[in-house]
């Protein structure tokens, strides 16, 4: 190894790893080993539900061969983590639920298949909120993920955000160069903000949902985490694309995202949605947002104020639609075809269904199934579900109208920095409020990204969110690239594990 220690290998960005591999400074095998060691040493974070060193080394060796014979793909030899919501053939995929404890998919999700085809090296499967339902990664049946970050002067554990908390913690702690995530109401953007890394949720339909354990199908969208915007661009490029096996997949060409990053916002108009200035918004976030405006101006953008009048209705709309879809999607877990079965002695088929579901689902999942079942049940469907779908149309229309006046929107990613483990567990609505800035773009299906922008008074990371027009991931990435360059975010968690 040309003067690079294992430790410095894990510090490299994905783009730097690609350059080093291409130049022969280190091998994919060395890169994989350095990361596997980091993963093993970081077990106190509980970020990985399953480590897959054998797969990683096999894939790294294949990457080294491809690099040697000139057939290397976009991500050849890049060590990644995979959120345990993506089915991986022959490798347990649990959705962080007891329901799927021993589930071994017989097929590969489209997104992981594309990543492996591009040469990525899988280090393991990452922890998450159970069935991706949560904003703090505390609903996992296999224990919470602990953020690598700590507030200055405190050693109490804090949350890495959720639902993709294993992904955010692992990338932030330098356990992998990048990770997959899924975002239903903010599950990529909020954890990215909480851990000082970048995360992108593309347009609904950009990345295939085939082989992703379903939560709320009209909202679920795979995306990527990495420590830089350029690295997210590389990941997304490998993950995105039309898939005939996903009925809502978009048939549109995937741009060469990383090659399109210029950070030049001249001629771009960036909208500041008035309604996101909620009363009581943390002063540090207001300041960060103002910094973001100044950076965008410095990059050449014109700033305009826009209105999204139905913003305040987005969270309640989401908390009707998402549970409704979840209750329908999770009806499949009945103890018959796969997953847990609990069959009471001498009981009927119906007893088996009810006992299996009672034993397999955790409290938050049950709560959402119950709410979803209620709002879809006879007599309540029109008042709740249909009304929510109408308000959702109004929210989407708000964005359409705003995009007549601007090209992108700039907002904070989350209303607060990461909070201590356990702080919001007894307050479901307080937990839901974490998604106040991310849910509207999810309801409208728009591409959105969080970019690390600063730290709060306790040294914990804060993120800014960019939201774009449908299919304009390039515009979102490029604006994030411009902000990233000006934010000069260098903070990283100091190793306590």
């Amino acid at each position: 190894m040309a003067g690079l220690t294992d430790l410095s290998l894990t510090e490299l960005s994905l783009a730097e790893m690609r350059a080093g591999l291409a130049a022969g400074q280190f091998s994919a095998r060395e890169l994989a080993n350095a990361h596997l060691e980091a993963v093993e040493a970081a077990r106190p974070l509980n970020a990985f539900l399953k480590e897959t060193p054998d797969i990683a080394l096999r894939q790294a060796e294949a990457a080294d061969r491809a690099l040697a014979d000139g057939t290397a793909g976009l991500l050849a030899g890049i060590p990644i983590g995979v959120k345990d919501l993506f089915c991986t053939k022959g490798v347990e995929t649990t959705a962080a639920s007891k329901m799927l404890e021993h589930f071994r998919p017989q097929y590969e999700s489209t997104v992981t298949a594309k990543l492996f085809e591009a040469g990525a090296v899988m280090l393991g499967k990452l922890n998450l909120d159970e069935f991706a339902m949560g904003s703090s990664n505390e609903t996992s049946a296999y224990g919470p993920v602990v953020s690598p970050w700590r507030a200055a002067g405190h050693d109490r554990p804090i949350v890495p955000g959720g639902s993709s908390g294993g992904s955010s913690a692992a990338v932030s702690a330098r356990l992998c160069a990048a990770a997959t995530g899924t975002d239903t109401g903010g599950s990529i953007r909020q954890p990215a903000a909480f851990t000082g890394i970048a995360g992108i949720k593309p347009t609904y339909g950009r990345c295939s949902r085939y082989g992703v354990v379903a939560f709320a199908s009209s909202l679920d969208q795979p995306g990527a985490f990495a420590r830089t915007v350029a690295d997210c661009a590389l990941m997304l490029e490998a993950m995105a694309g039309f898939d005939p096996r996903d009925a809502t997949s978009i048939d549109a060409p995937v741009p060469h995202y990383a090659g399109g990053l210029a950070g030049d916002l001249r001629g771009k108009r960036i909208g500041i949605p008035r309604e996101y200035h909620a009363d009581g918004l943390d002063r540090q976030l207001v300041k960060l947002w103002q910094d973001g405006v100044a950076w965008a101006k410095d990059a050449g953008a014109e700033i305009v104020t826009v209105s999204l009048p139905h913003t305040s209705h987005a969270l309640p709309t989401y908390y009707i639609i998402a549970p409704a879809e979840a209750s329908s999607n999770l009806a499949r877990y009945d103890g018959v075809r796969y997953g847990l079965r609990v069959a009471p002695e001498g009981g009927s088929l119906s007893d088996m269904y009810a006992a299996t579901r009672a034993a397999g689902f955790g409290a938050e999942v049950k709560r959402r199934i119950m709410i979803g079942t209620y709002v879809l049940s006879a007599g309540y469907y029109d008042a709740y579900y249909l009304q929510a779908q109408k308000v959702r149309a109004l929210i989407a229309r708000d964005f359409e109208q705003a995009f007549e006046q601007c090209d992108l929107l700039l907002t904070p990613t989350a209303p607060n920095a990461a909070f201590p483990l356990g702080d919001k567990l007894t307050d479901p609505i307080g937990m839901y409020l974490n998604d106040v800035f991310t849910v509207p773009a999810s309801l409208a299906g728009l591409p959105a990204m969080s970019v690390p922008a600063g730290v709060d008074g306790e040294g914990l990371p804060l993120g800014l969110q960019l939201i774009g027009r449908p299919l304009d991931e390039m515009g979102v990435l490029d604006a994030a690239f411009a902000l990233e360059a000006r934010a000069g975010f260098k903070a990283k968690p100091s190793r306590w594990w």
């Binding site: 071994r104 017989q106 097929y107 347009t203 609904y204 339909g205 009209s218 005939p244 809502t248 978009i250 048939d251 139905h310 209705h313 309640p316 908390y319 009707i320 209750s327 009806a331 009945d334 103890g335 018959v336 075809r337 796969y338 997953g339 079965r341 069959a343 009981g347 009927s348 088929l349 007893d351 088996m352 009810a354 006992a355 579901r357 009672a358 049950k366 709560r367 199934i369 119950m370 709410i371 079942t373 209620y374 049940s377 008042a383 709740y384 249909l386 009304q387 929510a388 779908q389 109408k390 308000v391 959702r392 149309a393 109004l394 989407a396 479901p428 609505i429 409208a444 299906g445 449908p470």
Partner: protein
């Protein structure tokens, strides 16, 4: 919206969830809170608004009506909690 334990039990039956003793009471309070919070949507004027059914309207072409997979009974049954003779096995349904 007040949710009583009876309603919770009814919804639990619809959702095929067996409740533990006392769970209906806890859930009634929690679900009541959440439904009380989403109740605010009733005040939004949605007169003449079509419910949103697709995020990105897309007309997907029909594919050819051909068998594209199959013959994988073993894979289909690989994760079954109980299987016999190439079928899923379940508790007796008919007495």
């Amino acid at each position: 919206m007040a949710i009583d334990e009876q309603m919770v039990e009814r919804v639990a039956r619809l959702a095929q969830l067996r409740l533990a003793p006392g769970e209906a009471r806890t859930l009634a309070a929690e679900i009541g809170n959440i439904l009380g919070w989403v109740e605010q949507l009733q005040a939004v004027d949605t007169e003449g608004v079509e419910p949103m059914t697709a995020v990105i309207p897309a007309a997907r072409p029909w594919r050819a009506d051909e068998v594209t997979d199959g013959d994988m009974a073993e894979a289909v049954l690989a994760n079954a909690p109980a299987a016999a003779h190439g079928f899923f096995a379940v508790p007796k349904v008919i007495e």
